[in-house]
């Protein structure tokens, strides 16, 4: 049973959780909304996968890197973790990019309020304007 791919995905997901916790990006910004986005995103992408598999467009490769456990024909259990990673990376990136934009657009306010370099915005979710 190959655990390499699953382990790699779990390491990457752990990294996303650490970044989220450190920078208040997704679940740490608004756990309820993040949970809904995560579950809806998973449902959306699993449906996409299942239709692609059902139509014979793509299929699981025979490889020693995966556990071989399948949650549906040709849908390896690893795919759930991959899709969770896709959702998490996307929302962390979006939140981080929003943070940079809001810092640059409200520079004057921040500079007045705090010294430069310690300009730390309030806790914000992805894309919320400061």
């Amino acid at each position: 049973m190959g655990l390499i791919y699953l382990a790699a995905l779990l390491v990457a997901l752990t990294g996303m959780v650490m970044l989220d916790r450190r920078f208040t990006l997704f679940f740490w910004a608004d756990a309820r909304r993040a949970a809904i986005v995560m579950i809806a995103g998973l449902a959306f992408f699993v449906t996409w996968d299942l239709l692609g598999i059902g139509l014979g467009i793509f299929f699981r490769g025979e490889t020693a890197f995966m556990t071989g456990l399948q949650i549906a024909p040709e849908l390896p259990v690893e795919e759930l973790f991959f899709l969770a990673l896709l959702v998490y990376v996307t929302m962390n990136l979006y939140a981080a990019a929003s943070r940079i934009r809001s810092l640059s657009t409200s520079k004057r306010t921040l500079r007045q309020a705090q010294g430069p370099g310690e300009a730390q915005g309030p806790r914000q979710g992805p894309g919320e304007r400061a």
Partner: protein, 130 residues
Amino acid sequence: MTYWSLNAFFLAAVALVALAAVLSRRAPRWKALAVAAVALLATTAVFDNVMIGIGLVDYNPDLISGAFVGVAPLEDFAYAIAAVVLLPALWHLLPARRSTASTASGRADTSSRADPSTPSTSSGTGTDNA
């Protein structure tokens, strides 16, 4: 049905959610979204090439367009595009959590955009199941 035809359905669903977000004045921040999209497409190109290269997934050559980024079919990038539009749009459509002590200072001036009690934005919920 080809991979592109399948993707068209799901990208159309994403477009509907994004339209719902725009019409309910809860659009994601497009510049931040574009920054996230560039990063996500770059990581997808790397990750997808590794996944396919080591044989985790394979494709029916008759159902893909034949356009590749390395060994990754161009169609695969539809997942990244869908994620980076759908998930932030969904996030903004969902009402923000109730203010707590830790966010009171940061929440006051976001109310025009994210406060669920604002009448003009209350129609934004419930449209995410496209």
